[in-house]
């Protein structure tokens, strides 16, 4: 069984079926891709997994433990962390303070003897925000804001990390560095789920890729399988024929 396991998830908004019997698994040590056109339901799936949105039907387990009845807070403490496509940064705080909030929260319940201040400095270094560590996040460009959200996740020492379009707003040079960062994080034993429109990035870093279209998983497999999948080509890239 995968570390994160989503099964039979269905979400309806009124008559609109945003997710339809979705299954998804994420293994530690690799980056799992989740791609799909706009409105396919990727963000909605993340909301279900993290507990922000109760699904109509479906089950989410982490490490074999069913978390369906747990609040977002409790799920986070099971080792889940996420970033937000629309950025949910603490805009009145500096970069360092943003990450520090997460580190303090983690220390508060985990009591793992770590020193939050040191944890924060390590993370800032690792995601490459040293130069702007004291800037208010309001003043940063989107690409860097996304790194702050990533850093905030890392400070909670998650087992599973859900990233919602983390590279949008990054320059090409930044994306190259970011790809390396993702792979090194996964190599550290984390399960990373990556939602991204940058197909090149996804194909580059992901060991497995799932394709969502109109709320259904229409394909999953290795990047090369996906790139040659007819259904994917026609539905997602609009170039199949």
């Amino acid at each position: 069984m995968a570390l994160l396991e989503v099964s039979e998830v269905t979400v309806r908004f009124g008559g609109n079926v945003a997710l339809d019997d979705v299954h998804l698994g994420a293994e530690p040590g690799i980056v799992t891709g989740l791609i799909g056109p706009n409105g396919a339901g990727k963000t909605t799936l993340f909301n279900v997994i993290t507990g922000l949105l109760p699904p109509n039907v479906g089950k989410v387990t982490i490490d074999g433990r069913n978390v369906n009845r747990l609040s977002p807070t409790k799920r986070a403490r099971c080792g889940m962390a996420r970033t937000f496509q629309r950025l949910e940064l603490f805009s009145l705080l500096s970069v360092r303070e943003n990450i520090r909030v997460a580190a303090d929260v983690h220390k508060g319940w985990a009591r793992d003897g770590s020193n939050p201040a040191e944890v924060v400095e390590e993370i800032i270094e690792r995601v490459g925000l040293t130069a702007v560590a004291d800037a208010r996040v309001d003043s940063l460009p989107t690409g860097q804001c996304r790194l702050v959200e990533l850093g905030r996740c890392l400070a909670t020492k998650p087992k599973v990390m859900l990233l919602d379009e983390p590279a949008s707003g990054q320059s090409e040079a930044e994306t190259v560095i970011f790809a390396e960062l993702l792979q090194s994080l996964a190599a550290g034993g984390m399960a990373v789920v990556l939602v991204e429109h940058d197909v090149a990035l996804v194909m580059n870093v992901c060991a497995r890729v799932n394709v969502l279209d109109f709320g259904r998983i229409i394909a999953s497999g290795t990047p090369s399988e996906i790139q040659n999948d007819q259904a994917v080509l026609s539905a997602y890239l609009g170039t199949g024929s």
């Binding site: 993290t50 950025l87 949910e88 603490f90 805009s91 009145l92 520090r100 690409g143 996740c153 429109h197």
Partner: protein
């Protein structure tokens, strides 16, 4: 059975009034997204106006009604919309709340200006002298019958307007999506003007109907009508049918309580407080909302306070207290001295509202609890009672956090206002009672209770002067505590929670515990302020701690700047220094002073950073210029010395206190500016072509494209697909 029917009718006629008022509220809320706290006050003004026309000048009833309901109230509504409400689109909940609360205060001030309180203004009911209509087992008075009919007509009329008439349909469309309905050709400005006209007329109608049942008193009438808001909450402020249902539940409850409540001295208050109690309960059982992400992007910015700055601030406050204590006469000390305890109560809002983004309109209630604890446990001025005052208020504050776990914004504001009302109208009016036979509680013995001055270190601080200094010291200490909270782990956590509860939860933060903690801390601080306030007053009564007082402190703290301790000092100074001083300086306008807190809130409530931050910016050059600072301090000290030997009087002294810092700051600004100009001439200005002029002023480069992509969060790939 007869009795049951009689009180059913009593209940239904109340229900009718609540329904009329609440439906007006729903109308304005749904069309413009502003919860109008002053809605009830509009009804109150209408009731007074009706009294004036009908009973003072003896005009015929139809003329009065047409004039008020058909002309004055709608015009007033339009005026409110155009002058005040229109500017509030896209602002945060707190700003909207402050402006409408200030409006409420302003309208109460206005009513008290035109119709000075303390005069009996009887109003008879409609057809008071006609015999009641016989319904067999019981009778119904004409006034009751008319009231119920009016509500039915209003219900049918509203339904027709909203479903049949063009502008009504447009109103409903505006509710669903304002920008979309604008695209469809509806004119949002006209629609909201109409909604406000209609809503205000409904408030006026309710006010005129309810006024004969109660005494015509501006604050209590305005807030009595708050009870009607409970009905609107039944419909979650959106649904008119549910609002009418809520009104019936409220009205009948109150009616039956009147009829069937056992006759003892404990329960009449319960009946009066029952709408607030129901409001509180309904808020508790409202379905759990989803966790909020970021809402309106606020423009607020409260810089991290430095420890040094805070120490200086605290020092200045204490020196200020000493100066007040040594230069003022005793009566003046009693007046102006309140600035510190009230300032402490305002400080209690800083962590709660400023940092955590929670709203509380019942801080004076916590202060009242602190004051009562001091009165009951602080015999002989026992300082331990201060600790009890903090602890007990904090415990009650934790209770209030319970609804806060589920509510935010306007709902939380209403919940806390309801709590304040329950205390005002019921708990604080209770006579002596015993708690399960364990011990006796006698809150405000004879309507007022004496408080002993603090005794510590073998000394009793009973002079007004010593109370001022104590107040100043406590203010400085609490301000320092608040700053330490801001600088520490808790402060970051609170600010994070204000920005995005959703993000906090997904990081594993315990929102429940965090809110509980901040409400307790805030209530504890307010309790301390209340205890000190009580000692200064020497004798307290429930009126010292009522909702209107809480609203004033809330509004002025936000005007001052709710995210910084300076804002709290601003609130204290405005209420207990500036207002009295204006009254003394300009005796002719003294009656107008009541309008000032409200007017200030309406005018300045929109700046999320507050007046203090602007003042701080103004004085910034001074802080950067040690020489000017030194000269200023010495001049002020000299001034104080001259005042102490009575060479100058207080007015000259105060004038000096105001003028010297201003002059010093002007000098510092001028010298800083000239220095800057010199520096600027030395450097070459870098290329700062504004984005929209690139390609016009100078050629477009790929670098510009990259900048643009970065700013917009787009990329070549996303725009044009993979190559």
């Amino acid at each position: 059975m007869d009795k049951f029917l009689t009180f059913t009718i009593v209940g239904l006629s109340l229900a009718a009034i609540y329904a009329v008022i609440a439906s007006g509220l729903v109308l304005t809320f749904t069309t413009t997204g502003i919860f109008n706290f002053a809605h009830g006050a509009a009804g109150m003004l209408a009731a007074f106006t009706y009294w004036q026309l009908r009973f003072e000048w003896g005009w015929p009833v139809p003329v009065c009604l047409v004039l008020i309901l058909g002309v004055m109230a709608p015009l007033f509504g339009v005026l409110l919309e155009v002058v005040v409400m229109r500017g509030l689109r896209g602002t945060t909940d707190t700003v909207k709340l402050v402006v409408s609360i200030s409006l409420l205060l302003f309208m109460i001030g206005l009513a008290q200006l035109i119709w000075p309180p303390g005069v009996s203004r009887p109003m008879s009911k409609f057809f008071q002298t006609s015999t009641p209509i016989n319904l067999g087992p019981t009778t119904i008075t004409w006034h009751q019958a008319i009231t119920i009919m009016v509500a039915i007509v209003a219900a049918i009329g509203l339904r027709l307007v909203l479903t049949r008439f063009r502008f009504g349909i447009a109103m409903r469309a505006a509710v669903d999506d304002p920008s979309l309905s604008a695209l469809n050709g509806a004119r949002p400005n006209r629609i909201s003007m109409l909604a406000w006209a209609l809503g205000t007329a409904l408030a006026a109608l309710g006010g005129i109907l309810i006024a004969p049942n109660v005494t015509l008193d501006a604050p209590s009438l305005s807030l009595l009508i708050v009870s009607a808001y409970a009905a609107a909450i039944f419909g979650r402020l959106r649904s008119l049918p549910l609002t009418f249902l809520g009104a019936i539940v409220l009205g009948l409850t109150e009616g039956y309580l009147t009829g069937y409540l056992p006759q003892n001295q404990y329960l009449p208050g319960l009946r009066i407080a029952s709408p607030a109690l129901l409001l509180f309960l309904v808020l508790l059982v409202l379905p759990n909302p989803r966790l909020r992400g970021r809402m309106t992007r606020s423009r607020e910015f409260f810089p991290m306070p430095s420890i040094r700055g805070t120490l200086v601030f605290g020092g200045v406050v204490i020196v200020g207290g000493v100066v007040l204590a040594t230069t003022l006469s005793t009566p003046d000390q009693l007046t102006y001295g309140r600035l510190f305890p009230i300032g402490i109560i305002a400080l209690s809002l800083v962590p709660l509202v400023g940092f955590a983004g929670q709203i509380s309109l019942c801080q004076l209630s916590f202060a009242g609890i602190g004051g009562l604890v001091m009165a009951h446990l602080g015999h002989g001025g026992d300082p331990v009672a201060l600790i009890w005052a903090v602890l007990i208020s904090a415990a009650v504050g934790a209770l209030i956090a319970l609804p806060a776990l589920r509510l935010s914004g306007i709902y939380l504001a209403l919940g806390t206002a309801a709590f304040a009302t329950i205390l005002d109208r019921w708990i604080f009016t209770l006579p002596k009672f015993s708690v399960f036979g364990w011990f006796n509680v006698d809150l405000f013995t004879q309507g007022s209770i004496n408080v002993d001055p603090l005794t510590a270190f073998g000394k009793t601080f009973n002079s007004a002067a010593s109370q001022i200094v104590i107040g100043a010291i406590f203010f400085a200490l609490v301000a320092f505590l608040v700053v330490m909270i801001r600088r520490g782990r808790l402060g970051r956590r609170l600010i994070a929670m204000k920005d995005s509860e959703a993000a906090c939860a997904t990081l594993g933060m315990n929102l429940f515990g965090t809110k509980l903690l901040v409400f307790s801390i805030s209530a504890g601080i307010a309790g301390l302020g209340g205890a000190l306030y009580a000692m200064q007053l020497t004798s307290i009564q429930s009126g010292n701690f009522d909702l209107v007082n809480s609203l004033q402190v809330f509004a002025l703290s936000v005007v001052g700047g709710i995210g910084a301790v300076g804002g709290a000092l601003f609130a204290g100074i405005s209420l207990y220094v500036v207002l009295p001083v204006i009254g003394v300086l300009f005796p002719t306008v003294v009656r107008w002073v009541g309008l000032l807190p409200g007017a200030t809130g309406i005018g300045l409530g929109r700046d999320p950073n507050g007046a203090v931050s602007q003042m701080r910016d103004g004085f910034a050059p001074l802080a950067g210029s040690p020489s000017s600072l030194l000269v200023m301090t010495l001049t002020l000290a000299a001034l104080y010395g001259i005042r102490l030997i009575d060479a100058i009087d207080n007015w000259t002294f105060v004038g000096g206190l105001v003028i010297v810092p201003l002059v010093a700051s002007v000098i510092a600004t001028v010298s800083a500016a000239s220095k800057e100009r010199m520096l600027a001439q030395l450097e070459d200005a870098p290329d700062r072509t504004p984005m929209e002029w690139i390609g016009i002023d100078r050629p477009w480069t790929t670098e510009d494209l990259a900048t643009l992509d970065l700013a917009l969060g787009t990329s070549e790939l996303e725009l044009h697909g993979p190559a």
